[in-house]
Amino acid sequence: MADATTFTNATQILEPFRGIKRVTIEEYFTSGHRTCQGCESALVMKLMVKAAGPRTIVLGSTGCMYVANTTYYTTPWVVPWMHTQLGSSGSAALGTAAGLKSLMRKGKMKAEPINVIAFCGDGGGADMGIGAISATLTHKEYNSLILLYDNESYANTDIQLSGLTPYGAHTTFSPPGKVHRLIHRRWKKNMAGMMAAGHPECRYVATVCASYAVEMMNKVRRALTIGGPTFIHSLDPCPKGWDYDPMLSHEMGELAIETGLFPLYEVEDGVVKYYGKTKALVDGRPRKPVREYLLKQGRFAHFTEEDLAHFQSKVDEMWQQWEIPAVVPFRRVDATKAALDVK
């Protein structure tokens, strides 16, 4: 029996795509969804399943990628897809992985590695579903990937603020007014860092941005190949909620990376590795000023110079003071030691 258990723990071996010309040509999430013009989250869905391939089950918690994609008896999905409740992407991933394993063990379906991917938005994942995701990441015997597509608000219900909405942004819940210019004064949660730091047996956590499509797909492939529960956080520019011309979706993603606001990294078996443009920043390339990013978005149109400066100082803090720059907000150990010595 032990052998059978081991067998169903096997994963598909998905080699990274070596260049854009070698990417799978088939679409497994196709046209005919009802997302906004320039929707990066729809692009994330497309790339995610393109990377995963046809032997994949996708589970989606409520959000734009549920409501906009599968209204009234229609679907753009080629692979099997199921809706799950707003906060339950973690439970759905675990349950599906466990169910498949059980069916294969009992011989009720052919034993083969099947990818299980559950996606959630920032509201469903970082606010409501964080407990279930955390629980799933401790179940190391079940292979699943939880992909959080982060458009920085509850975009489906017309832009309410979430735990991943950036500081000061204009949302339905935080309209700038004459008396209070900034209603939302909390800094964005560090979701990927938190998942990596908090789940020592989760073998793979990564951040991605679909503006870098091939790298993004390769992180998905790595997560599915390595086995066990894995987590990916994707930053998705949202023309509706961020208020910019949809043509700029790709550029917004690039700017978020180049300003250092959203770092690209993977944490494999506890080892942090920066990649792409973020690696260049770590290696000394200057970060672009965040104002280049902020002033192109209507949601920050009320920012004063003072607000822009504060935003920049918080990003500088991520890079200069965090123990692992832009990944984990603990202060450097030597600084802690120095502080203890003073006492």
Binding site: C39, A68, T74, D158, S249
Partner: protein, 402 residues
């Protein structure tokens, strides 16, 4: 004893605030004209998506009882006036709650009015607007479509122009003085806006449309599944994986057959297949998977699936290889690649003409940087301002700025 039913058809998100201002303005103008009014949005359009057509309704009645009668409906089945805030909606409306393509004048009653903002000629617009069995009036406010986003509003006076024009179209319900008084009192109103409303009242252009006129095309439609055809657990069949384009080469994905993007676009990409370097960037970056892979390795934007976001132009490394062009410049949804393959010379001529016409390549598409709308509105307020950056500033803006 009568009621005036108005629908406001607009581009989701881009014109959400604009349409809400117009609908509210109608109600307040009704009160100032001694009548009763109510405004509401279409439930089925929520949550809105950028570019996908949506509707608001406003009803004006002589008495409260009549107003209540009309409020008892989920949404009006007939409208006396159809306000259209973007002339590319003349091609029809496919809201995300609807199925199939609805002509823009579908709800307009016989003898009613379709009131539109446009700089195009009546005849040009009637190439797009579907034929109707009953005569109606097409009325035009000479202005560009006003596009902005959820948070930053574009103050180009489109809302008050529409209210002024409506007073001209339906004087038995809204008086010009009532409209002006309402605008003055509105939190977004001003004396300058009152003047704009009066100008629109004076300058409204109208033309009767006969039943023989209009686009003869039969709008795209299909049978909706019946309740007894639905399967256990609300499961539905997945989309098949797609096929090679021809002779085992290329790739055309299967697509959701129930939702086409014919009317979601305000622009579409025009592709120069001769200068394409086959880098794959447009194909991989398209959120709508609209690019079919051709046997020669180039990519053809499929007009069933393109929603006109323009990301392909933004990522294309070759200048003028992909150019976004105003949807109003096109009369069909045919494949550009097939046209290119049939006659490369003729295609090139058409391409150069189309993308060289700055009037059709320039189109406002929302917020690009802070202060943009104010800059654009410094001149030419009557026509809705001049867009200064249809391309990306610092990259490809220059060749698209008038």
């Amino acid at each position: 004893m009568a009621a005036l039913i108005v629908e406001v058809v607009y581009r989701g998100i881009f014109q959400k605030n604009l349409a809400a201002r117009i609908a509210r303005g109608i109600v307040l103008s009704a009160r100032k004209s001694g009548r009763w009014g109510i405004a509401f949005g279409r439930y089925g359009d929520s949550p809105q998506r950028n570019g996908i057509p949506a509707k608001d309704f406003a009803i004006v009645a002589d008495t409260k009882e009549e107003l209540e009668q009309n409020m008892a409906r989920y949404e009006p089945k007939h409208t006396d006036v159809t306000i259209v805030l973007d002339d590319t909606l003349g091609k029809g409306v496919e809201s995300w709650a609807w199925y199939g393509l609805q002509p823009i004048n579908k709800l307009t009653v016989a003898g009613g009015t379709v009131l539109m903002t446009s700089l195009r000629s009546f005849d040009d617009l009637l190439k797009d607007i579907h034929k109707k069995d009953e005569p109606y009036t097409l009325a035009l406010i000479r202005a560009k479509a006003s596009f902005s986003g959820l948070w930053v509003y574009r103050e180009d006076h489109t809302e008050v122009r529409m209210l002024g024009a409506l007073a001209r179209v339906a004087p038995q319900f809204l008086t010009l003085d009532g409209v002006c008084e309402a605008i003055r009192e509105m939190e977004w109103g001003s004396d300058l806006k009152v003047a704009s409303a009066r100008k629109a009242f004076d300058r409204l252009e109208t033309r009767p449309v006969r039943i023989t006129e209009g686009n003869p095309e039969v709008p795209y439609s299909f049978e909706m599944p019946k309740w007894w055809e639905m399967r256990e657990g609300v499961t539905i069949p997945a989309i098949p994986v797609g096929k090679p384009k021809e002779a085992g080469k290329g790739y055309v994905p299967e697509r959701n057959p129930y939702f086409k993007k014919y009317t979601t676009r305000t622009m579409r990409p025009v592709i120069d297949f001769d200068t394409c370097v086959k880098c794959n960037l447009c194909w991989i970056s398209c959120p709508d998977s609209c690019f079919d892979v051709m046997p020669d390795g180039t990519f053809d934007a499929n007009m069933e699936a393109c929603c006109g976001c323009g990301v392909c132009e933004a990522v294309c490394p070759v200048e003028h290889c992909i150019t976004m062009v105003n949807e109003s410049a096109f009369d069909d949804n045919a494949s550009q690649w097939e046209a290119w393959r049939r006659d490369k010379g003729a295609y090139k001529t058409w391409l150069v003409d189309t993308i060289g016409n700055k009037k059709v390549t320039v189109r406002s598409h929302g917020f690009r940087f802070r202060g943009q709308y104010e800059e654009e509105l410094k001149q030419d307020l009557d026509a809705g301002g001049v867009e200064i950056t249809a391309g990306i500033p610092g990259e490809n803006a220059a060749h698209k700025t008038l």
